[in-house]
């Protein structure tokens, strides 16, 4: 599915976001095709949420954004007015958030919150919307839908609330769903159910899914393609298989190593050091100060070096002239 030849649903090149002195996103390029799940991975503060917010047109007021070649199907979000953004959000792209307990209005009935997009975009009457709510809730496997639609968020569990969030997001059948850490705040058992539901809905509607997470387990389960972000830029991109079995960036490798598995010894390796300060200009590779493979050349900014079809890495190790090309060659310091 990921290798479908048609043109991408969403494409953006060289996305830059500045918030005051902080360069939160530093030249991110993305492509998502219809029906595809692209996962954006990275530790907190790496700019993945900012990227998602940029795609929704929901950056904070003081943020400055620049991008080139920004397409959504035939639309050009780069030149949207405030009104066009409004029509775009909820109708074309929808978003769900990390914590469903706080992402729903505590003083509004569940049903009303789900039907808001329908009433805003489709001009549905209260009656029509109510029937639609029941259909949606039932699709999310919430029983007793008519009764539950009249309840308030505090009467729901976290997993149920995330289903409600998904129902509200999918009410207008958007073509892209952005899920920002959708399962981080949930119990482990509920996580699997929500992920399964998301996967099912994506296939059913041929909807694109941009899944933002720091959990490599989620990535392995859901993603067709993966983009790894570090310090505001994408450092490696490829299919999920390529990333897991042919890891091509030292940061991805370090991330993978810090996932707890049974084969590790008694101590979980953490990545030493801290991410760079995004307020100052970063010369060269941003990961260099923490990298076990650091070389003299890493003081210069690397480009994306292709490995195989659809897989590239922003690491000097994959430069054609590099004598010890690739990772894992032994000189771990």
């Amino acid at each position: 599915m990921s290798q479908s030849p048609e043109s991408p649903l969403l494409a953006i090149r060289d996305l830059q976001v500045r918030i005051g002195p902080v360069r939160a996103v530093r030249g991110v390029s993305l492509e998502v095709r219809a029906g595809e799940c692209l996962s954006l991975v990275g530790e907190s503060g790496c700019g993945k949420s900012m990227t998602a917010m940029s795609l929704m047109g929901l950056l904070p007021r003081q943020a400055q954004l620049s991008a080139s070649d920004w397409h959504f199907d035939t639309l050009r979000p780069g030149s949207f007015s405030a009104r066009q953004w409004q029509q775009f959000r909820g109708e074309q792209v929808a978003m769900i958030f990390q914590n469903p307990m706080t992402a729903l209005n505590p003083t509004m009935r569940i049903g009303a919150q789900i039907t808001e997009p329908l009433r805003a975009h489709r001009g549905m009457s209260r009656k029509q919307a109510q029937r639609e709510v029941e259909r949606l809730l039932e699709r999310m496997s919430i029983t007793n839908a008519a009764y539950r639609a009249r309840q308030y968020p505090f009467e729901f569990s976290g997993g149920m609330l995330q289903r409600v969030m998904i129902a509200a997001a999918l009410a207008c059948e958007p073509r892209l769903l952005i899920a920002d850490e959708p399962t981080t705040a949930l119990d482990v058992t509920v996580q699997a159910e929500v992920l399964a539901l998301l996967d099912e809905l994506r296939r059913e509607r041929n909807m694109a899914l941009l899944l933002i997470t720091h959990d490599l387990g989620v990535v392995a389960r859901m993603a067709d393609r993966v983009a790894v972000m570090y310090a505001g830029e994408i450092v490696e991109e490829g299919s999920a298989e390529q990333l897991f079995y042919h890891t091509a960036h030292p940061y991805t490798e370090a991330l993978r190593a810090s996932v707890p598995t049974l084969s590790h010894g008694d101590r979980l390796p953490a990545i030493a050091g801290t991410p760079p300060d995004l307020r100052s200009e970063i010369g060269g590779c941003a990961f260099m100060p923490r990298c076990a493979y650091a070389m003299d050349i890493c003081r210069e900014t690397p480009a994306y070096y292709p490995l195989e079809a659809g897989h590239c890495s922003r690491c000097w190790r994959w430069h054609p002239d590099c004598p010890q090309r690739g990772l894992g060659a032994g000189d771990h310091g």
Binding site: G90, P106, T107, M108, A120, Y152, F154
Partner: protein, 315 residues
């Protein structure tokens, strides 16, 4: 919910009893008995009062008589205005104070909510700075000074226009009402404005507002459906204590603007040591304030579903 209301009413009644008791014993702590003050009371009235309040009886007995009278809603007869019942005084003057206070409260609530919304929306820009400066002024300048300045302002305005546009004081027509009510509500307005501002700022950052925007709602829909209602909740809970502030603030405003309200009457009674009027109005005011706070608590329960439904679940 019914049990919750009942519990609130019960504790309210207990509080009123305590206020009445405290009033009684405070008045009886006055050196000598209330009648032995040098203000001449005619012998008939004196005898009448002694019989009526059982002043020759032991304290406990007097307390019983007092409580009985209060329960029947009988506050007695004024010491200084002979043959005038305290009940009549309250009935005559309280509506004036209540009108003034209600208009002040409405002005304060509306102004506070609108002003708070403006300052939060234009945070750290000139409307915010300007309003917050006014708020600081309204909080630090005593109400009687604001009232006096308002009178100066009225005089100046009338002089500039050349017509008696607004009266400097008195009561009777709508034009007597606006300026005193505004002055009375100003401190509360400033307080509610600050409350609304911080509550709105917190909500503007909240996740569900981002969700609402992500659904493609217009800024107006986001503001009215998601931000305003939630931001007003803490303002509503503060309305109860606020009414106490407006009631006592009314004393001064009524005094300065020469408005024949119960507050001015109370201050006069205090200055003339008219004990029955003091006791009667204190208990009346105390009971009134307690009931208002109970009413606001119950009202809040209806607005916030979390409280309403929890209470129902408990009952």
């Amino acid at each position: 919910m019914a049990a919750y209301i009942l519990r609130r009413l019960l504790s309210g009644a207990l509080t009123i009893w305590f206020i009445a008791t405290a009033t009684f014993f405070a008045m009886h702590a006055v050196p000598g008995d209330p009648l032995s003050n040098e203000k001449a009371v005619s012998p008939e009235i004196r005898a009448n009062l002694e019989r009526r309040y059982g002043l020759d009886q032991p304290l406990v007995r007097q307390y019983g008589i007092f409580l009985g009278n209060m329960l029947r809603g009988d506050f007695g007869i004024s010491f200084t205005q002979e043959n005038r019942r305290v009940n009549d005084i309250i009935r005559e003057h309280f509506p004036v104070s209540a009108t003034l206070g209600l208009v002040a409260l409405i002005m304060a609530a509306v102004g506070g909510v609108i002003g708070g919304s403006i300052t939060a929306y234009w945070r750290n820009r000139w409307p915010d700075h300007l309003l917050m400066l006014l708020v600081i002024a309204a909080i630090s300048v005593p109400s009687f000074v604001i009232a006096a300045l308002a009178q100066l302002g009225i005089v100046g305005l009338n002089r500039v226009v050349g017509l008696p546009l607004l009266p400097v004081g008195g009561w009777g027509t709508l034009s007597h009402l606006w300026v005193p009510a505004f002055v009375l509500g100003l401190g509360t307005m400033a307080y509610l404005l600050r409350l609304m501002r911080s509550s709105l700022l917190e909500i503007m950052e909240s996740d569900y507002v981002v969700t609402a925007r992500a659904k493609g709602l217009s800024p107006r829909q986001v503001f009215f459906r998601h931000q305003l209602r939630n931001a007003v909740l803490p303002v509503v809970t503060e309305l109860g204590p606020t009414i106490a502030a407006i009631t006592t603030g009314g004393f001064v405003v009524e005094l300065v603007f020469a408005i024949p309200g119960l507050g001015r009457f109370f201050v006069q009674a205090v200055q003339q040591l008219d004990y029955t009027v003091i006791m009667g109005t204190t208990v009346f005011y105390g009971a009134f304030l307690v009931l208002v706070v109970v009413a606001v608590d119950i009202l809040y329960g209806f607005i916030d579903p979390r409280i309403r439904l929890h209470k129902r679940a408990v009952s």
